[in-house]
C-alpha cells in the first residue's frame, strides 16, 4: 500500500506562547519547531498500516527550509521518503492554497516516481491554527472520499476499514480506492526515534518540489489577540454526592443558568 502523509511544522505546543506587543503576532522566536501532534499520530498510524500491509510511507510538507528537520524526524520514525514543497511564507498562506500546493505536490511525486498513492493521511488539525480544513479541502479538490477524525485503520478487502471517533462512540467506515483520512489521537503513542534511526535519517536526502501555489491567498488575518483569561472555577467539596449536586444546583440557580 502506497501511503502519503501530509505534515505541518508548528511551534512546540507544550510551552506557553505570548503575544509580541510590537509585532502583534505570537512571539515564536525561542519556540522549538516540531511536527504537529496530530500529524505525528497520522504518521504512526500510517507506519503501522505499512508494517501490516506492506508498501511505503512518503511524507510531504509545505514550508521553508527549516521544515526539512521535521521531515527528517519523520524519517526517523518510519517514513521511507520525504518531500518538501518549498514555500517560505507558509504560515501566512491560507488553507485553500496549502491544500492546492499539496495536491500539485502529490501529482508531481507520482509523476517523478511512477507510483500511485492508495491513501492519504493528514492530522485532524494543526495545533497552531487548528482550522481542521486542509484535509477535507484537499480531498474535495481531488474529488475523493474523506473520513475525518479516525482513531484506527486496517486494510480490508483491498481497501481500508477505519474507526471514526464521535461524541457518542465510533463509526466503522470502510472505503475502497483512493481516499483521504484525517487522524485523531489513537490509543497508542507515536514511537520514539532511536539513536540509530535518527542518525540514519539525518543522512537521508529531502527532495524539494517547486509546486507551491504562492501569492494566491484569499484569507487574511485581521487581528491576533490573547484570549481573555478564564476566571477560576468553583470547587465543590461535600460529604456526599447528593449534597454536592444540591450545592451545584444552587450555584447554577443563582447564576440564572436555569
Amino acid at each position: 500500500m502506497e501511503i502519503l502523509v501530509c505534515i505541518k511544522q508548528v511551534p512546540d505546543d507544550s510551552v506557553e506562547i505570548f503575544l509580541n506587543e510590537n509585532t502583534q503576532k505570537p512571539d515564536l522566536e525561542k519556540v522549538t519547531p516540531v511536527v504537529n501532534a496530530f500529524d505525528t499520530y497520522a504518521l504512526e498510524m500510517a507506519v503501522r498500516l505499512k508494517e501490516a500491509a506492506g508498501g511505503e510511507v512518503t511524507v510531504l510538507s509545505v514550508g521553508d527550509d527549516s521544515v526539512k528537520n521535521s521531515l527528517k524526524n519523520c524519517m526517523a520514525v518510519g517514513a521511507d521518503h520525504a518531500y518538501l514543497c518549498k514555500l517560505d511564507d507558509y504560515n501566512e498562506t491560507d488553507t485553500f492554497t496549502i491544500a492546492q500546493s499539496l495536491k500539485e505536490s502529490k501529482e508531481e511525486i507520482e509523476k517523478q516516481t511512477g507510483k500511485t498513492f492508495d491513501i492519504i493521511f493528514c492530522g485532524k488539525e494543526s495545533t497552531d491554527f487548528a482550522s481542521a480544513q486542509v484535509g477535507p479541502v484537499l480531498a474535495e479538490m481531488m474529488d475523493i472520499p474523506v473520513i475525518t477524525g479516525i482513531v484506527d485503520i486496517e486494510e480490508k478487502d483491498g481497501g481500508v476499514e477505519t474507526r471514526q471517533e464521535t461524541e457518542e462512540g465510533y463509526h466503522v467506515i470502510s472505503c475502497q480506492g483512493l481516499c483521504l483520512v484525517t487522524v485523531n489521537k489513537p490509543k497508542y503513542d507515536p514511537r520514539y526515534p532511536t539513536i540509530k534511526s535518527k542518525m540514519a535519517a539525518r543522512k537521508k536526502a529531502i527532495d524539494e518540489l517547486d509546486t507551491a501555489k504562492a501569492g494566491v491567498t484569499v484569507l487574511h488575518t485581521e487581528k491576533v489577540y490573547t484570549p481573555a483569561k478564564r476566571s477560576a472555577g468553583v470547587k465543590i467539596q461535600a460529604e456526599s454526592a447528593e449534597e454536592a449536586v444540591a450545592q451545584a444546583m444552587d450555584l447554577m440557580k443563582k447564576a440564572k443558568v436555569f
Binding site: N69, Y192, T194, I195, K196, K198, M199
Partner: protein
C-alpha cells in the same frame, strides 16, 4: 544547554529529553520507593539504543564524540541518576576490552551491547575497596582455560549484565603486578550473582555481589596480558570517573531546576521566596559550581577524544562534580524548607542519589590523592 555539542547531538538531546520526560521522571519516583530494577523501562531505553552510546563507530556504534554523549547522559541523570548510572555503567563494562582487548574481544562486547546487553566491571571485593591490590579473587591457568574463584561486591549491573570484565590474581607473589583482567560472558558455569544491595540512592540501578566458583573460561578471554589487569583497571577508571562526574552534574542541574521552579511558586511574606536576594545568591552559587563542574567534565572528555593524558582531569571532574551534586541537592532541600525533607517532593532523593558519587569509582579521598600525585610528581 551548556555543553557545546554537534547539531546531530542537539537533535538527539531533544529526543532523549522527550523520552526521559515521558518514560523516566515520574516512573522512577515509584521505583525509588520499591527498589525494583525497572526492566520494562530499560527495555525501552535499549530499544532507543541508549546503552550503546559509547560503542565506537568502527564497531557499529553511533559515532558521537564523548562530549556529545555526555550531554545525553546528563539529560538522563537529570531525570534519574540511577537510570543514567545503569546506562553509563554499560560503557564502563566495555572499557577494559576497548582499552586492552584484541579485535575479536572488542567486536564481541560491542555486539553484545548493540544487541541490548549491559556490561559490568568487577574490581571491588569485600576486603579490597580503595586498596584494589588486596583482592583475593584468583585465576589459575589449567591447559587452555583459566579457573576463576572469588567474590566481587558492589558490582553495578552485576545482576543484569551480559558480560563481565573481572580482575583476578594470576600471581599473588607479584602484588598488583600479579593482577589480570578477564572477560566472562553471563551464563558461564560457575559465575553467579549474590546479595543485591538495598541502597540509599540510585535505587533504579542494580548493585550486587558477583560470585566465581570454579568458573572456567577459555584462556583466550584474558584481556591484554597476564599481570596487566591492575593497569587496565586504572586506565578504565581514569576514563570512567569523568562519566560519573557527568551524572553528578545531572543531579546538580536537577537540583537547580527544582529549586528554581519551587522558589518562584512558593509565596512567603507575600512574595515568591526567590524574590529574596539571599536565595537568589544560593541559586547563583549552585549554577556557578554546576557549570564549572560541567565544563571540567567536558574538558576531561575532550582530552580523552584527543588521546591526551586525562588522569588528573578525570579525577577533578568526578571529585568536584560529586561534591557539587551533594551541595546543590542539600541547598535545594534548604530552599524547599520542610517540604524538601519530605519524600513527597523530589529533592531529598537527589541528596540520596548524589552521595554514592563521592564514594564509587574511587572515593573522593582517593581522587584527591590522584590529583595531588599529579601535581606534586616524585619528590
Amino acid at each position: 544547554m551548556a555543553y557545546l555539542i554537534s547539531e546531530e547531538a542537539q537533535d538527539l538531546l531533544s529526543d532523549v529529553k522527550n523520552f526521559c520526560d515521558k518514560e523516566v521522571v515520574e516512573q522512577c519516583k515509584e521505583y525509588d520507593v520499591t527498589g525494583e530494577w525497572p526492566k520494562e523501562l530499560y527495555d525501552k531505553a535499549v530499544e532507543q539504543g541508549y546503552q550503546a552510546l559509547e560503542v565506537p563507530e568502527e564497531y557499529g556504534g553511533p559515532g558521537l564524540s564523548r562530549v556529545d554523549v555526555a550531554a545525553l547522559i546528563e539529560q538522563m541523570a537529570i531525570a534519574d541518576a540511577g537510570f543514567a548510572t545503569t546506562i553509563s555503567a554499560s560503557g564502563l563494562g566495555m572499557k577494559p576490552v576497548l582499552i586492552a582487548g584484541n579485535e575479536e574481544q572488542k567486536q564481541h562486547v560491542c555486539d553484545l551491547v548493540l544487541e541490548g546487553g549491559f556490561g559490568a566491571f568487577c574490581l571491588t571485593e569485600p576486603g579490597a575497596g580503595s586498596d584494589a591490590s588486596a583482592g583475593k579473587t584468583t585465576a589459575v591457568k589449567d591447559g587452555d582455560e583459566y579457573v576463576l574463584n572469588g567474590r566481587k561486591c558492589f558490582i553495578t549491573n552485576g545482576g543484569v549484565a551480559s558480560f563481565y570484565c573481572i580482575t583476578a590474581m594470576t600471581d599473588k607473589s607479584k602484588g598488583v603486578k600479579g593482577i589480570s583482567m578477564f572477560l566472562v560472558d553471563a551464563g558461564t558455569k560457575g559465575l553467579s550473582t549474590g546479595k543485591e544491595e538495598n541502597k540509599m540512592g540510585i535505587r533504579t540501578s542494580n548493585t550486587c555481589d558477583v560470585i566465581l566458583e570454579d568458573c572456567r573460561i577459555p584462556a583466550a578471554n584474558l584481556i591484554g596480558e597476564e599481570g596487566k589487569g591492575f593497569i587496565i583497571a586504572m586506565k578504565t577508571l581514569d576514563q570512567a570517573r569523568t562519566w560519573m562526574g557527568c551524572v553528578s552534574v545531572g543531579i546538580a542541574q536537577r537540583a537547580i531546576n527544582e529549586a528554581v521552579a519551587y522558589g518562584k511558586e512558593r509565596i512567603q511574606f507575600g512574595k515568591p521566596i526567590l524574590k529574596n536576594q539571599a536565595l537568589q545568591f544560593k541559586i547563583a552559587d549552585m549554577e556557578m559550581k554546576t557549570e564549572v563542574a560541567r565544563q571540567m567534565v567536558a574538558h576531561s572528555l575532550q582530552k580523552m577524544d584527543l588521546g591526551l593524558p586525562h588522569t588528573k582531569e578525570s579525577a577533578i571532574a568526578k571529585c568536584f562534580a560529586s561534591d557539587i551534586a551533594m551541595e546543590a541537592a542539600s541547598e535545594a532541600i534548604q530552599i524547599f524548607g520542610g517540604y524538601g525533607y519530605s519524600r513527597e517532593y523530589p529533592v531529598e532523593k537527589l541528596l540520596r542519589d548524589a552521595k554514592i558519587f563521592q564514594i564509587f569509582e574511587g572515593t573522593n579521598e582517593i581522587q584527591r590523592i590522584v590529583i595531588a600525585n599529579n601535581v606534586l610528581g616524585k619528590f
